[in-house]
Symmetry: D2
């Protein structure tokens, strides 16, 4: 299974489950995979920024990839984040992941590139490095510090192996519209565009032409439902399904703290055994835990209503 431009739906950004002592937790990996697929995920993405990838060494990254791919067993495509300071590591991970059955890889430009051409050039180099793998371009300037304009993305999309954009610039909705407009006008190849940003603009992203979303929000079944309702043309119902989750989405989006919130919720839901991040990483205060519990309770009430 190779990723292509027709990909759509909810690609769940999977965290990397660790034990309380920081070891890779294989049992939780399996359970988490099962949970995301049961929630309706159209695909999985691993070793992204929220996957604590820089804290894994090369062997661990490949071992985790293999474990996920084995458990998924071809049911959905799996995308592997391969961003790395050096192309040698990027190449090793991309080759290993594709050999093990990944559907594609994800690349984000690093910080410090100077000007549009430098960014476009970097991605072209990285595309060569990952061999013949289809790839996702991650547009996430809040984390990478590197902006990519509509015109830059159009240029990069001339490479047929760039099959998907993870669109999480902020603000990013007008950019999404502009990209779709280029395609409608025949000036840009149609690629898959998935939103991101923790899902905080999911209904709007779909309304603007996104094919789905790639995020790790801890209730992927809601994301699936919103995609379904928007596809069915029921925008009001989509917002009605979405809005009750916005307080928790907002809480998960806090920079530096969000992944700890997300893992806490996934642990509470039984997806993973430990909410631990690898050191160095934040821990939730008792007050924050209580607030998350309060929001979960409100969500439960809403869902039962």
């Amino acid at each position: 299974m190779r990723l292509d431009e027709t990909a759509r739906g909810v690609f769940v950004i999977a965290p990397t489950p660790f034990t309380d002592t920081g070891a890779l937790d294989e049992a939780s990996t399996d359970r988490m995979v099962d949970g995301f697929l049961a929630a309706g995920a159209s695909g999985l993405t691993i070793l992204g920024i929220m996957g604590e990838a820089p804290k894994l060494d090369g062997a661990e990254a490949l071992a985790f990839t293999a474990r996920v791919l084995k458990r998924v067993a071809g049911r959905v495509p799996v995308i592997v984040g391969v961003s790395s300071p050096g192309f040698a590591s990027m190449k090793a991970l991309a080759a290993g992941a594709m050999d093990a059955g990944a559907a594609g890889v994800m690349i984000a430009p690093p910080a410090g590139l100077r000007g549009d051409d430098a960014v476009v050039g970097y991605i072209a180099q990285a595309a060569a490095v990952v061999g013949d793998a289809p790839y996702v371009l991650q547009d996430f300037p809040q984390a990478t510090g590197t902006f990519m304009s509509v015109e830059m993305i159009r240029r990069m999309a001339e490479d047929p192996r760039l099959v998907m954009l993870k669109a999480e610039d902020w603000p990013g909705l007008d950019k999404l519209s502009a990209l779709r407009r280029l395609t409608a006008e025949g000036r840009m190849r149609r690629i898959s565009i998935l939103g991101g940003n923790g899902g905080q603009f999911l209904p709007e992203e779909l309304h603007r032409g996104a094919d789905g979303i790639m995020t790790g929000y801890a209730f992927p079944e809601m994301l699936v439902q919103v995609c379904r309702l928007m596809a069915a043309g029921d925008r009001a119902a989509a917002h009605d399904a979405f809005d009750p989750h916005l307080p928790l989405i907002r809480t998960e989006l806090q920079p530096g703290l969000g992944l700890a919130v997300r893992k806490y919720v996934l642990q509470r839901r039984g997806f993973i055994a430990s909410a631990a991040l690898r050191a160095p990483g934040p821990k939730l205060s008792a007050e924050t835990q209580a607030e998350v519990e309060f929001l979960l309770e409100r969500l439960g009430r809403g869902e039962r209503g």
Copy 2:
């Protein structure tokens, strides 16, 4: 009326109304002031980051301040943002504002200060510059690039003229708790703490011990209601009042675009005649306008329901 540590409630961050051609709009200034007071504002803050202060020259800043103060006519305290690259300008604006009847001034540390002591030292210098005015310390590292720790704020609060903290670090809730804990333990003078950040964590901020909020969200009456419900101990009702606004709050929080959204809504509500920002500034796309309209309609439905 001088601002002091007992200040509480909703201090509305007022934008600076311009005509479509960029002139100060005095009629809208009056109307906006009336609207905010009718909504239940406990105070107003002008010439903050969202007041486009750096785009006004010194004479305009004083003229706008005078106009607001005249219209408020002592009904609520007015705080004037005086942050400036030079102390000479800061001094002139602070003196002029206090002479005209302002209740206090607001100061944010600039970018580029190196280390805790440099920040604390800067604020001490600025406090000397603003003469005997009570002042609000703005803690907004997303905009200023300058972090202030709990310990730094504790030290700065030894100055009795620092009467209020505008707490909008992100994440900032544990910091708010830590500050209140210091006061409870007798290790920090009690000052007024108002939340910020567009209101996106208002219920949590109040639960953590904030005395209210200082933000420019375009529906201040909801902020007032949430403060009232939390003060009455009805946390669930506060969240019920808050949650329907979160989609619009999220839309107003988009960096670089948020003020244009806010002014659009204030214009739609009749507070100001033009949604124009002074150049250079963003304009709302037709798509974004339609999304805001959609959210406004949903809000209206919710309020009528």
Copy 3:
């Protein structure tokens, strides 16, 4: 006298002289102007980043401009920095300066512009704002945070009023060569290019095709001499004249501290009465003063030798 593409030589970035209490020092302004012209300056630039422009209000900026222009009395062109957060202030200062006899204005893009097109668009807007004034584009990403590629500069240079580039990207020599190559190939209009960066690469900049330099290094007569020697084809002599100054240039280039060093040297040389910067600003430690004195003494020895 209007600035045009044929400008060459040493344009001295003049600081703004203040008294020890922070007032504009008119007598020092006159003396400094005389000193720079006696040193062989081909032009002056005022109210740049090193001119503490953001610490002046609009009236002061115009008063200082008028004083400089009166003293220069048409002997050399004077360029006035007009960068400002708002176009209204930029317009007022540009109009006032041109009315008073300035030869042109200087514009730098602000921080926070996203992507090449946003930068090019900003400069086009600013060019409209400054009316019919010839303008210098300042390329100084270390200070502005905004990168401009060769291609961007080529596009911007299609505007005939853009007559000069202040080229102080770092590293910037290959960029300078690339710009000159474009012109040699007939693909870019020839504009004046002056180097910058405190003069630390002056011989190389001239070798790469710069027409001179715009910097405020406190010994402009050396800069003039190096330009003369390079124009005469005596590269080795140019380096021989340049190298002894590099220790002091390096000391003046220290971020945040450099202007204080520069004003200290200008005071020591009798150009200005006080080395004071407007608050907030750094002061030289006794150790740094002693080091500067040591370097000045070595320079003196070298010059006498």
Copy 4:
């Protein structure tokens, strides 16, 4: 041999030699080690920022470390940079390096830490992670984005395993003086302080109390000579030895380009076989190569003189 507070002299920051195709070049590693020791190095530092450490995987880092240590064979202490996004990798590399005979490790705080206490806390955590290894604290905010004040360094130096500071803040001379003053006043433990920053302030650093320098400037024998002359009290001779190298030091200091210049010079001098950086990395233009050759020729002339 374990690093301690008495370390002094020139610790050469060694690059990682690669072949033209990006493989570790073992023969060049040996030759380079011999060259640096012949130049009078008191120690070596490997896998620093200039060692392209993030482009090596864990196994390569350990292999390179072992090769260097074997070649050094105990003649001088070797420090190994172990900074890493995750503590697991840091621990593995530190343990492997110390087992193989390293004298100590070097740690820099990462970007994104918020406030003095967060930085001090991070270093305390890292110190625990590296076990019982003596460590060097790298103070290099231009690269890490993290400032460390005099007071922070004083606090961190309470840990007896922190034996050395690599002091390369910019500007940093007053900070160096302030640290030495604290020690003179009995308020801070005396640690070894080595300057950095490409050597551009070496005479001043020594004058301010540094015990030497840790940098990778391609002519370490000059650094050794300057240290010797300053130790002998001959400040003028030290500057005379230093000044002719400043043009090349300046050229090596260019951000993003400097390492390519440095490797070019080391190749020209016969220390390494290839000037190649691992991808992605810059290449020297023909013009830059010619400029470096010109500077080398001038240096040669000066040295013969």
